[in-house]
């Protein structure tokens, strides 16, 4: 009796185990729903915190493509996938909206341009735009073609009539706010023009000196998160958007200087 059962068990093992011999060993949790967010570089820190909480809550995976907002805009156009679009400047959302690619949107905070100098402001720089054309200073600014910070910088400098002069004086142009932070950390720049919120990131606080600009010189720019029409999981994307403006989300954005 025992032998018969043993033989049957072995037979069953060999016959049925053959079915899974060529199954791909996907990593754990790979069967979860996935959403893709295009995010401006400056907002990446709060967004990562929200992502962690949201993934636990919804048992899903959130992937974030971050960089200069101009680049993200083109990435949406080129790849034609993705669920949420969160650029550093709402004009990029308007652009997609004109193309009929925006499904829903919500304002989650604001951005504002500021000056940053080396820690302790050794050169005694002030909130004065004319310093950007000072040939004795190493100035680094964002590239208007690739990121929101560059575009907003251009807007402010054109308003002041010194854009071309600043371009002449700039040491180099970065694609996004991260590049501007790096310029200060690498001691390449004496003065950079970046989003104010960058100064709120804990690891940046000791690496740079924030010189705020007045709202006359640099207006607050609304931060808009939007659901893309390409979304494969629009309901999940909408939930993420709602979560970002929930009490939890607001606090996180506030902590990083995107809300008052």
């Amino acid at each position: 009796m025992f032998c018969a059962r043993l033989v049957s068990a072995l037979l069953a093992f060999f016959i049925f185990s053959g079915c899974d011999m060529r199954q791909y060993p996907y990593p754990q949790g790979s069967d979860r729903r996935e959403i893709l967010i295009y995010s401006g570089m400056t907002m990446i820190k709060p967004l990562l915190e929200i992502k962690t909480l949201f993934e636990e809550r919804e048992h899903c995976t959130v992937k974030i493509s971050y960089g200069g907002s101009g680049h993200l805009l083109r990435s949406v156009g080129v790849n034609k996938i993705g669920d949420l679009f969160f650029p550093g400047d709402q004009s990029y959302v308007r652009n997609l909206e004109k193309q009929g690619l925006i499904f829903d949107q919500v304002e989650v905070g604001y951005n504002q341009i500021a000056f940053f100098s080396q820690p302790g402001n050794p050169k005694g720089l002030e909130a004065n735009l004319s310093q950007l054309v000072d040939k004795s200073l190493h100035v680094v600014v964002g590239n208007e073609k690739s990121g929101a910070v560059g575009r907003e910088t251009k807007k402010i400098l054109e308003k002041a009539g010194i854009y071309q002069a600043v371009m002449q004086n700039a040491l180099y142009l970065t694609t996004d706010s991260k590049g501007l932070v790096k310029a200060l950390k690498d001691k390449d720049a004496d003065l950079v023009v970046n989003w104010k919120a960058v100064g709120f990131i804990p690891e940046n606080r000791d690496q740079m000196y924030l010189i705020p600009l007045t709202e006359d010189a640099a207006e607050k720019v609304p931060l808009v998160m939007s659901v893309l029409k390409y979304s494969q999981h629009p309901e999940l994307a909408a939930k993420f958007m709602d979560f970002s403006v929930s009490e939890t989300g607001r606090k996180i954005f506030q902590r990083y200087g995107f809300r008052d």
Binding site: C3, A4, L6, V7, L10, L11, F13, F14, S17, G18, D20, M21, R22, Y24, P25, Y26, P27, S30, E34, L36, K63, I64, S65, G67, G68, H71, L72, R74, S75, G77, V78, N79, I81, G82, N95, K98, Q99, N143, K145, S146, M167, Q168, A170, L171, Y172, L173, T174, T175, D176, G179
Partner: protein, 1086 residues
């Protein structure tokens, strides 16, 4: 339960044990195979991920190289260097796209690794990758794909800046170079950090690939461990089970063997009982044998009786052993002698050692043995006297009780006499048949020969008929009375007569009477029989004539009468050609121009009468000589070199010589030399047509001299007129302005008339004076480096008020372009351009357009062109455009003008080393152009700086249009053009230029580089694909994006568009949103 049943028989138990062992081994093996499959699969996945790591490394390398190329691009100083870098850049971009595609979609990538430094030896490695997680979002691939698109745009913009830099280097202008280098540097500032981002993505891709590979590798390693463990455990378990089952079978077998020993003892006792029973049975059998012997004796007596009966038979009778053919029993008639009782039947009857042959002489014994039935055969036997006799043999089978054939009874009847009679009868019959066959064969041969002769005759007749019917000549048979009895079918194709029309007709009725005076056939034959050709004309049914040449032959017909064969050939074409040649020869001989024909070496073969008259040489004196006998030494030697170079290439040469007559007198001639070629295109002769222009030249010189004298006279007269005219105009103005003595209304009107007439007269005098100065050579030009842009700007600003008065739009196609300096007189160049502009405005409709454009010419000239859509000039007046005092309009008074402006303009342009021309159509407009030489000397820096500063000002002034993107639409359909205009206006932010053909589109794109070209494929002249190729071949338009707008949506065309690499495709009817999106994406504007 199964095992319980199998416990009893020991073999069954051992079978189960062996079966179990085999099954266990098979199971273990199967399990092992499956697990190995899994292990191999995982190993394959590890390799797959290793390939991904390798491809991502390749991607990194390519991106690094692109980075280096962009850096190199920043430092290029020449177009060739830039093109080389671009070619490499395009290759790298293609490679990067392909690697990204392989990483995303899976596929194959072939990577080449140079083995040595020079790359002469290359190893290629084939990397095949499969993406098992294609449904998952791969951030790095997404970001890289997008950034590479950005990169393409950045490089395109960067290349535009680099081109400016190269142009600045080419101009060798320090200021421009510095400015260009500065712009390059500024652009490059943005590229380097951007590239850092791209490389970040490639690092992450590489890192993530490595991570995935390590994860799969860990899974594989874990599986291998588990696999070994399972394999060992299952082996041990199976061995234990086999041992357990074996011991069970052993114990059961031992019990069965003990039972077998008990059964053996019982068997011995049973054997002893059986022996006793055998002894009793033996005694019973001995008694039975004695009884059987007695019965056999009785049978022997009966046999002796039968033998006596057989002996008494008259025919041979034998009993033969079926096994060896030996005669067992025979009677005396059989002839078997005493002492030969063991003789075989064949030895007895045939005297041979072997039985009869089956085929020729069948053995009846064998037949009986085979069939088991009686048989009757005919044999030839040898009797006891040695004679051959024909016998009939009867054979009967004898069987034993079991039915086996053991013997055969044979008795023989002599048939010899009967056979002989039959044979004689047969021979007689055969002889008769042979005779019949012989006669039949002779008759058949006669018939065959006759048929063959008939066939040869038919074939021959057919051959000659075909020959006659297919020759191009006309074969006609005429009897002695001249009546046609036969004509070949070619008469129909040549003359239009079918044979049935002419057979029976008199042949002379067809011939034109005046061509044939010999009407009698005998006479005709007598006249032409000696191979002479008769030439005459035949009237065809349509009334025309054909010229025939005929040979006449006489022959005798079958009935003995005479007949004639006419072999005629159509020579009409040849006769006509001879006539043409005769006419041409007359033309050449009577031509007033000298005509000389030479061979290819230049030896004179023919000269006409005019040559003799002009040169004084007789034809016989120059035939075979070279025309150089006429050389005077006053024609430049280079002209003769050029002449021979031209005509030896098979081209026509025209020029002038100063030659010498026989009497030494010089004369000038205009010569046209034409190579004469044979049918194979080879030059066989040269023909020279020479016009004596000595008198013409003399007259021209006199005319020029007279013209100069006239100009000097006009100049003096004009000067004398200007003095009183100054007084008239000056005082008229004073009268009009005087406040002290104001004029009455009537006086004012009269004074204004005086001033207006005076101004007109002054302008006329000034221009006459100008022309006079130019023609008399009394004016000087200050040729210096002149900035064409400055000339253009000044002239446009002067012409603008004139244009505004007539609401005419002045379009400057040169805006934004920089052209090299020209070598010209600045004031005079302005005068020329302004004259063309003012004419374009004056001779235009209200609300018309005037365009000005400039373009570099290949031969170091700059071309200025002024086009208008005004009145245009009638073709018959084109020749008078540059003639003085001629007006091109029907009503000259309606449009103010002196009529010498264009004469002066032409003189000025030509004195500055340029050329002027125009194209015009009445009612459609005109396009006047002139070219001036470019400045070859270095231009002073200050002058260039001034030019650039002025340009900057102008650019600022035009900046309202500068932010608009310029589109060029190449399309020939007016409806589509109209639609596109409306759409582009509606979208806003673009200017639209139209070209209605491919060639016009290319020229427009070169004249003003557009930001984007919209291109129709189906165009007059060259098609859209050819336009694209040519655009990409031009440095000015090489990088301009081109979007196809076509109604051809066939899959084949769309694939071709993709293959060509167009920047987009819009199918007609164009959707506005789609067009807008394409423009936005391609130009990177919002």
């Amino acid at each position: 339960m199964i095992l319980k049943h199998l416990k009893q028989p020991i073999i069954a138990q051992i079978t189960v044990l062996v079966g179990f062992v085999l099954f266990s081994l098979a199971g273990l093996k199967a399990g092992n195979i499956l697990l190995e499959q899994r292990q191999n699969y995982l190993q394959g996945l590890v390799k797959n991920e290793q390939i991904k790591v390798e491809i991502s490394h390749v991607l990194q390398k390519k991106l690094f190289e692109i980075n280096v190329k962009i850096h190199d691009l920043a430092n290029v100083n020449s177009a060739s260097e830039m093109n080389r870098i671009f070619r490499r850049f395009e290759t790298l971009r293609h490679d990067v796209d392909r690697t990204l595609e392989v990483l995303h979609q899976g596929g194959e990538w072939v990577e080449s690794y140079p083995v040595n430094f020079g790359g002469e030896e290359i190893i290629t490695r084939q990397l095949t990758y499969k993406n098992y997680q294609i449904q998952k979002i791969d951030l790095q691939l997404i970001e890289l794909t997008a950034k590479l698109t950005d990169l393409d745009q950045i490089v395109e913009q960067f290349s535009a800046v680099i081109k400016l830099k190269i142009k600045a280097f080419e101009k060798r202008d320090a200021q421009l170079v510095a400015e260009a280098v500065n712009r390059v540097s500024q652009h490059y500032k943005g590229i380097e950090p951007f590239f850092v981002r791209i490389l970040e993505n490639s690092y992450r891709l590489h890192f993530e690939s490595q991570q995935e590979m390590e994860r799969i590798h860990a899974i594989h390693a874990g599986f291998v461990r588990r696999f070994n463990s399972v394999e060992n455990t299952s082996g041990i378990v199976m061995a234990g089970l086999i041992l357990l089952l074996g011991s069970f079978v052993l114990r059961s077998s031992r019990r069965i063997l003990n039972e077998r020993d008990g059964y053996q003892l019982e068997l011995v006792a049973a054997n002893e009982n059986l022996e006793k029973k055998v002894q009793v049975r033996t005694l019973e059998l001995e008694k039975e044998v004695a009884e059987r012997k007695q019965a056999e004796d009785h049978v022997a007596d009966q046999a002796a009786f039968l033998l006596n009966i057989i002996e008494s038979l008259g025919h041979p009778f034998c009993v033969i052993n079926a096994d060896n053919y030996e005669i067992v029993l025979a009677n005396t008639a059989a002839g078997l002698t005493v002492g030969k009782e063991t003789m075989t039947c064949h030895a007895l009857s045939h005297h041979q050692l072997l039985p009869c042959s089956r085929q020729e002489h069948p053995c009846h014994l064998q037949i009986v043995k085979k069939t088991g039935k009686p048989v009757v055969l005919e044999h030839v036997h040898t009797n006891s006297h040695g004679e051959k006799i024909t016998v009939e043999v009867h054979g009967y089978p004898v069987f034993d009780p079991s039915g086996k054939l053991i013997q055969m009874i044979e008795y023989t009847l002599d048939m010899t006499a009967k056979k002989k009679a039959e044979k004689a009868l047969l021979e007689a019959k055969e002889q008769l048949e042979d005779k019949v066959k012989e006669r039949t064969s002779a008759l058949e041969e006669q018939i065959f020969k006759r048929k063959k002769a008939q066939l040869t005759l038919i074939k021959s007749e057919r051959h000659f008929r075909r020959l006659i019917e297919n020759i191009s000549d006309i074969i006609t048979i005429v009897d002695a009375a001249g009546m046609i009895t036969y004509t070949s079918p070619s008469a129909e194709s040549i003359l239009g007569f079918s044979p049935s029309d002419v057979i029976g007709q008199d042949v002379r009725n067809l011939i034109k009477p005046e061509d044939m005076t010999y009407l009698d056939m005998h006479e005709l034959y007598a006249k032409y029989q000696a191979m002479d050709l008769m030439r005459y004309r035949v009237v065809t049914p349509d009334g025309s004539y054909r010229v025939l040449e005929s040979l006449i032959r006489k022959f005798e017909q079958d009935d003995g009468s005479e007949a004639y064969i006419l072999n005629s050939r159509d020579v009409t074409t040849r006769v006509e050609a001879e006539e043409e040649t005769r006419k041409l020869r007359l033309v050449i001989e009577q031509s007033p121009d000298s005509i000389v024909i030479t061979d290819t070496e230049g030896r004179i073969e023919f000269v006409n009468a005019a040559f003799e008259e002009t040169t004084g040489y007789r034809s016989a004196e120059v035939i075979g000589k070279n025309p150089r006998i006429l050389q005077s030494g006053k024609t430049p030697a280079a002209r003769f070199t050029q002449l021979w170079k031209t005509i030896s290439r098979g081209k026509v040469w025209q020029g002038e010589f100063v030659n010498k007559k026989k009497n030494g007198e010089h004369y000038e001639e205009n010569v046209l030399i034409v190579p004469i070629k044979n049918l194979h295109g080879e030059i066989t002769n040269y023909a020279a047509v020479k016009e004596n222009i000595t008198e013409l030249r003399r007259a021209q010189k006199q005319a020029v001299s007279a013209n100069q004298a006239k100009s000097i006279f006009l100049s003096r007269m004009s000067h004398e007129l200007r003095t009183p005219l100054n007084a008239i105009n000056g005082f008229s103005q004073l009268m009009l302005k005087s406040k002290k003595h104001p004029l009455t209304e009537k006086q004012r009107h009269m004074a204004e008339q005086i001033l207006s007439a005076g101004d007109h007269l002054l302008q006329l005098i000034n221009e006459v004076l100008d022309l006079a100065r130019i023609e008399s050579g009394e004016f000087t030009l200050s040729l210096e480096p002149v900035d064409p842009q400055q000339i253009l700007r000044e002239c446009l600003s002067l012409a603008q008020p004139l244009a505004d008065n007539k609401s005419i739009t002045l379009i400057n196609r040169c805006s934004g372009h920089h052209f090299p300096f020209i070598r010209a007189d600045q004031t005079r160049t302005k005068q020329v351009l302004l004259n063309l502009l003012s004419n374009a405005v004056k001779y235009n409709h209200q609300g018309g357009t005037v365009e000005i454009s400039t373009a570099l010419e290949d031969a170091g000239f700059l071309r200025f062109a002024v086009s208008d859509n005004g009145l245009g000039i009638a073709e018959d007046k084109h020749k008078d455009v540059f003639m003085p005092f001629t007006r091109m309009v029907d009503n000259p008074d309606a449009i103010e003008g002196t009529g010498i402006g264009m004469t002066i303009t032409k003189q000025l342009v030509e004195h500055m080393g340029g050329e002027i021309g125009f194209e015009s159509r009445l009612g459609e407009g005109s396009r006047f152009w002139f070219v001036l030489p470019l400045c070859t000397k270095k231009v002073p820096l200050e002058q260039v700086e001034a030019s650039l500063n002025n340009g900057a000002e102008i650019e600022k002034a035009e900046s309202s249009d500068e932010h608009l993107k310029h589109l060029l639409y190449i399309e020939d359909n007016p409806t589509n053009i109209s639609f596109m205009r409306e759409v582009v206006d509606d979208i806003g932010g673009f200017t639209l230029e139209i070209a209605d053909s491919g060639e016009a589109g290319i020229q427009a794109a070169i004249n003003r580089t557009p930001d984007l070209i919209l291109l129709d494929l189906n165009l007059p002249g060259i098609d859209g694909f050819q336009v694209y190729r040519q655009l990409k071949a031009q440095p000015e338009t090489e990088f301009v994006p081109v979007v196809v707008v076509s109604a051809d949506a066939m899959e084949k065309t769309v694939k071709k568009i993709e293959k060509f690499g167009f920047n987009g495709y819009l199918s007609k009817p164009v959707k506005i949103d789609l067009l807008k999106k394409t423009l936005t994406e391609t130009l990177g504007v919002e």
